[in-house]
Every structure is written in structure tokens, then in C-alpha cells.
Amino acid sequence: MANKDNISDELLAAYLDGNASKEETMQVLEALKTDKQLQEIFHVALETDEDAACITQMSSFSDDVLPMLQKAAISGENICAVLCEIFILHRRHLPYDEEWLLNTARRKDWLKPEGTPLYCLGNLLAYSGMFVTRKYDSTLEDIRRALRMDNDVVVGVDREKLYSEPVDLEDLTNHAVVITHIDNNIVTVFDPYEEPYISNIHLSDFLGAWKESHNYMIQVLQSVDEYEPHPIDVDSIPLDGDLEELQEAIAENAHDVWAEARIKEGWTYGKERNDAKKQHPDMIPYTALPDSEKEYDRIMAFNTIKLVKKLGYDIVKRK
């Protein structure tokens, strides 16, 4: 009978990483049957959202929460997102050094121990001087339009659903692919982990797999003139009374931050805006701003708070 004291942290970690031997695996499972502490350790280990990048608490995922923290890759060795970006550089005949790009992604923390979070997709391309836009809730028409403009498109998908493989219990975005073509019911993708790398996927499989990322796509523009802002739709997010107070505080602070930066650049108050003299009519305290100007800051604050909630965070007031 396995003794719980024999199960070292090293062995537990090796087991969780799938590196334990047959005997060790059986030893762990045997101990798990009777060792309450071990059961709790595993329970916590499985539930711990490793990236949990939840410096604030993350709500449980629901349909209305964007999976920005999910990875377009699951393990430390899975670098599909980086390989997709390299593929785009290659396609555009731009010089690149694969090792350097990988190291850059790791150094800048875009490639995390558990993979590349969706919000970091495309960072290497942007770092290489390309214009990258990111968008949730995209449509097939968005992809088609991008391809027509000869832009490159990367999407976050659930790999198992993409290839109609048995679906595991974890429904999440765990892979990135480049879309190269869409034709009627067929979506052609570049998948760095699926030889021969270019595959034709049935549209319904693609849509099922793509849905897991809330239809997240990044688009690499050919020119900055094509840039069209697409703020995340936060209309469905309610704000309770406390957060409305927070909205006013954020709005006022945003104005102060703006004014402080302008003062450092030499701007002063002027009845009318004069860029040459560095004068601006809003260089006054927030409380003195006309309502029309306050409204601008309030809308920004309002949308920021809603966005925080939409991205799966809760805002909790300390007592």
C-alpha cells in the first residue's frame, strides 16, 4: 500500500506533467484513494487556472465572458501561435530568425509557461513592424473581407473540434491557426502541428472550433489605412450602483492623468485650443469642466469598467 509520505512534490509534479513511470502512476492513484490531503492537492491543482492571471478574481467563464486568458496553446512546448506568426512573416517574404522570435516572445512574456494567451496573439508581428488588429465576435464575413484585402488572418480555436476528434471535457481555445482561404463549405488553414500543414476543414467543424474563442481573430493589415477600430461590445454588461460611483472616480482621475501629462509637456490653459502655443481649454479641474467634456471621460470610464467585467474579472470593493 502506498504511503502518502512517499509521494514527494517532485513525483506529484512529474505525474501531473505526465512524466511518471507506470509504477509511480499506480502508486499515486493508489495513494489518492485514501489520502484526503492528496485528494485536495489534486483537486486544487486541477482547478488552479495556471495562468489565472487573475490578479483580481476571475468569474467562472460564461458565454458572456471573453476568454482573453485562454491560451492558443496549452503546454510550455506548444508554440503554435509563434509558428503561425512566423508563417506569416515567411509568406510576406520578410526576413526573420525563428530562434530570436521565440526568445523574444518568452522574454516579453507573450509566450507564457502554459502557452500564448489570446491577447498576446500577433505581438511578434506588431513587434516586427506590422499593423495588427484583434477582434472578438468576428464573423465569417470579417475573415472573407480580410482575405480579399490580402490580409493575413489568425484565429483561436479548440483543436479537437477543428479535426472532429473526440472532444475532451475542457472546452477551450487551445490552438491557433492561420486561415488562408475560404471557399463555400471549406476553410483552408495553416496548422503548424498538423502535417502537411495546410488542411481543408469543413465549415461546420471550423465554426464549432472557432466559437470557443468567442470568434477571436487577428488580422495583419497590408497598410495602416485599413485600420478600423472595433471596440468590444459591452452593451450587455450591467453596472450596479457601486460601480457607477467608481465610474465617476475613474473619469475624474483620467482627466487628471491627461492634464498632468500635458502640463509636463508645457501645455497651459487657454480659452481656445492652440497647438502652437500649447494651450487647451480643458486644462482646468475636472469639476470645472463643462458637462459635455465630462461626458467624454465618463463614457471612457463606463466602457472600461464594463470591459473589465466582460473579460471575466469581478471588481470587489474592500471593506
Binding site: 512534490d9 517532485e10 502512476t25 492513484l29 486541477l46 487556472d49 489565472a52 510550455g76
Partner: protein, 184 residues
């Protein structure tokens, strides 16, 4: 930074590695673990400082004995979970001499071996993703080389590594559910 560099830096008390890896990069991990272990509010910084002291005690004995059988991150996760659970029970074992695996008593009688094998087959039966069962069977039970299996499955080794971890997670979930269902 790779795992070797992280371990080396932590042992050497390199301020860059300690600050950036342990106190910054691992912050979300520790936060998430604490949230699950404690059902009451705890002082994050105080707890993490204690964890750091625990990790570094006896001239960083634990770090010096790390055998790289998993990623550093996975190991730290397990270490942190165990530490916080013990902390919660106010029974932290001051003896940091975690028995190195190689010195453990590996003996188990034949009967329990058979039981364990039987249990494992039962868990496999209950696993919904048969592909995962196959991965565990080949990699863990048959000790197949990952490169060979990856080739058989027509996937890359890196992707197999990914699938392997998910397979183990599913197996463990099933084992935990099994215990719950049978009240073991």
C-alpha cells in the same frame, strides 16, 4: 529563462530571477492556489513571503534537490498547494527534508499491485476520451518513446506533450470522481 536558469537563479538568490519569476510571474498561480485553499481572506504578500522562506530553508535544499522531472512551474504549484494546506491546518512540518524519490521505499506487495492495475483499467473505462487512454497506455504503461508515438499518431512531439498532460488531467479527474462516488 529556462528551468535550469530559474532554479540556478533562485538558489543563488539572484534578485532579478527571484523578483521576476517567484514574486511576479508566479503571482497569479499563488493567488489562485490560495483562493482555493483558504475559504477566508489571507494576506497575500505575507503568505508568499512565508512560502519563499520555506522554499529557501536549509540552504535551498528543495531547489538543490529538484530533479527536473516536471517543469519548475508545475513543481512549484504542487509545493505551494501542499504548503498552504499545511499552513491552513497550522501544522507546517519544519523538517524540510523531503525524501528524495530515489531513496523511497518502492516496494509494494503483489496483491496491491494487482489491485492498482485493476483500478487503473477501471478508470480507463470511465474516461470519455479514448484517445487519452491510448496516450497514457502507450506512454506511461508501455513506456513508449514520445517520438515514436507522435509519429504513429501523425502529430508532433510537442503536441503529444500537450495531449499527455490533458490525458493525465482527465485521468485524475475521473479518479477523484470515482472516490467521491464510491466514498473511498
Amino acid at each position: 529563462m529556462n528551468d535550469q536558469e530559474i532554479i540556478k537563479g533562485l538558489i543563488a538568490r539572484d534578485s532579478y530571477v527571484t523578483q521576476n519569476f517567484f514574486f511576479v510571474k508566479c503571482r497569479p498561480l499563488f493567488y489562485s492556489v490560495m483562493k482555493q485553499v483558504f475559504d477566508y481572506e489571507v494576506e497575500y504578500d505575507e503568505m508568499v513571503n512565508e512560502l519563499y522562506i520555506y522554499l529557501m530553508e536549509d540552504d535551498a535544499f528543495k531547489l538543490r534537490n529538484f530533479q527536473y522531472r516536471s517543469s519548475v512551474y508545475q513543481w512549484l504549484k504542487v509545493l505551494a498547494i501542499r504548503f498552504f494546506i499545511k499552513k491552513r491546518h497550522r501544522m507546517i512540518d519544519d523538517n524540510s527534508n523531503e525524501t528524495p524519490y530515489g531513496e523511497q521505499d518502492k516496494s509494494a506487495d503483489d496483491e496491491s499491485r494487482k489491485d492498482a492495475q485493476y483500478d487503473m483499467e477501471r478508470l480507463f473505462e470511465a474516461m470519455p476520451t479514448k484517445r487519452y487512454v491510448e496516450v497514457i497506455r502507450r506512454l506511461v504503461l508501455e513506456d513508449c518513446e514520445p517520438e515514436v508515438l507522435a509519429q504513429e499518431m501523425n502529430i508532433t512531439t510537442a503536441n503529444l506533450y500537450n495531449i499527455k498532460r490533458r490525458s493525465i488531467a482527465q485521468l485524475t479527474r475521473i479518479a477523484l470522481n470515482d472516490i467521491k462516488a464510491y466514498g473511498k
